[in-house]
Symmetry: C2
């Protein structure tokens, strides 16, 4: 069997209390005793049982990441894994472990409640895809240390952080104006799609600031997929006055848009510039390679990790904010 603290104490000729004190520092122990204990630990190849330690200290040193395997255009969200890695990175720095739980929105409440009641965890990082009003109430009532990744689309008590999509929209618009484009169109997802709408808001606020007027038909809403992107691009291009740049709310829409321009033999970026959001693989592959507003999602995970650790220490901390900032990656399409 592996050595325990008792074995070490016996070998060193001390009590277990002393051994514990040596390990945890900040007690007054003579150098001689420290040496004896250290040597005993060495000889026995002793490693303290972390489970026992956490149990004794009544802490778990664990955070749970609750998420659902979001399918986006039939493909699992490529951001999820990177967010998680960022989270893990921040937590492990402070000796915390990250447990992952993939679960549906309906079952999330029960799971979280149980995990808290059975003392499995110090706090939760919850992806917006699994939140609900019911969960909000639960977390509020039990005052569970938590952080939601993503902006809830209902009023809630949640603490959350999110990508600043409005800022992303602003960046896109500013970039185009700086490049000399003068009349911008926006083709987006549904009007209920918060991400798409925030990006649009950002675009419009910049245009407004620069006194650029946006004709109604230059803003289109549809599905967040390729075909819809194609269709919306056609709508925009069939006007008597064509725009000279198009902002696409996401990569899939952008792909459709580029196809449409291609079919109409319109040159990118000379006749029309194209910008989109998120640096998914095919933004680099497409001809022309797309100029993109990217998000460092790993960093978002890191931020989330730092926050939840703070929250665990000071439970009355409160945050709701756009904390992760988009950056511009200029490629060939502008």
């Amino acid at each position: 069997m592996t050595a325990t603290i008792k074995d070490v104490a016996k070998k060193a000729g001390t009590s277990t209390a002393t051994v514990s004190k040596v390990m945890n520092g900040s007690y007054s122990i003579s150098q001689a005793t420290i040496d004896k204990v250290m040597q005993a630990m060495e000889e026995l190849n002793y490693h303290p049982n972390l489970r026992a330690k956490n149990f004794a200290k009544q802490s778990t040193k664990t955070v749970i990441f609750v998420t659902s395997i979001g399918k986006e255009a039939g493909f699992s969200n490529p951001h999820m894994f990177e967010i998680m890695c960022g989270l893990e990175h921040a937590l492990s720095e402070k000796g915390y472990a990250l447990i992952v739980k993939n679960i549906s929105e309906e079952k999330a409440c029960e799971y979280i409640k149980n995990a808290v009641e059975t003392k499995q965890v110090d706090g939760f990082v919850i992806h917006a895809s699994v939140i609900s009003v019911k969960l909000d109430e639960l977390i509020f009532q039990m005052s569970i240390p938590h952080l939601v990744i993503g902006n809830p689309n209902f009023s809630s008590h949640f603490c959350w952080i999110d990508i600043d999509n409005k800022l992303a929209g602003e960046l896109a618009a500013k970039h185009l104006l700086e490049k000399g484009y003068q009349s911008l169109a926006f083709i987006g997802g549904r009007e209920e799609d918060k991400i798409s709408m925030h990006r649009l808001q950002g675009v419009l606020s910049v245009l407004n600031e620069h006194d650029v007027i946006v004709p109604k038909n230059y803003v289109q809403h549809g599905e967040s997929d390729c075909d819809s992107g194609y269709a919306m691009a056609e709508l925009v291009l069939n006007q008597s006055e064509k725009p000279d740049a198009i902002i696409c709310a996401n990569n899939y829409i952008a792909y459709g848009c580029v196809s449409a321009l291609h079919d109409k033999e319109i040159q990118i970026p000379n006749e029309i510039g194209v910008v989109t959001f998120d640096d998914y693989p095919f933004s680099k592959i497409l001809k022309p390679m797309l100029t993109v507003i990217d998000i460092d999602v790993f960093d978002m995970g890191v931020q989330a990790g730092k926050y939840i650790l703070q929250k665990i220490r000071k439970p009355n901390l409160y945050v709701q904010s756009y904390i992760t900032f988009p950056t511009l990656i200029i490629r060939e399409s502008t």
Copy 2:
């Protein structure tokens, strides 16, 4: 404070042993006592402390998934998250939790050693991206319950499961032959790339079986990216005798290949058919949509989870096998 087993025992007028027995079933307890205990638990809103339980039982009910955030064509591996979700699914069915650890190959050894020594875990699922000869020795010496996802490319003691890429290659070739294509070309990654080479092996074995002769120039190796796919396609197409179908070792190569065919105004699938592997987003988006040999990676995670649980129960179990099977998704390119 939350209620403990002692509180329940006191309230029910029994001993803690009895309460424990009621909770864990399979002991002889009278119905009357069971009712008393259950009621006490109810009234106190008692939930057993899982940490204490695991500690007492000397088990952790935890598996760690060790991985490194693999970048593939500069983009994090889209499979990783789904594998992990599959894993989590299988583990949670048996009451196990999944801890994720993102770490570099160099640091993986130390991490795993420490996690074992400090009794944090019952077993490991390790992604092939973090294994090394050193790790092999460590795991062998300490006989740590483990399972590697992916085939190690050196001889080792590891237990592993992997996708059957040879079978995938066979499926691709068979499909093309069935569709009436007669001379197949293969454009792949580097010759050191095991995945690409396995797929090629599968292709060749089927062609051999059907007595189809493959000219040397019909098999090309290059990088696993778009540009290389374009270049290799050109090489294959500039022969005097053109093939009538091309198998691309992955999605990126396929994209380059399709571009090349497009530029040469060769019709897909009429003049030339195209097949590739893995159902990444743009296989559905590309015109024409690509016929693809897909892998259910979620299921691979599930298999891995089931296996590691078995291995934890019976430590002398041993497995090295191709356990996850590819399936054909027919789209427009064949």
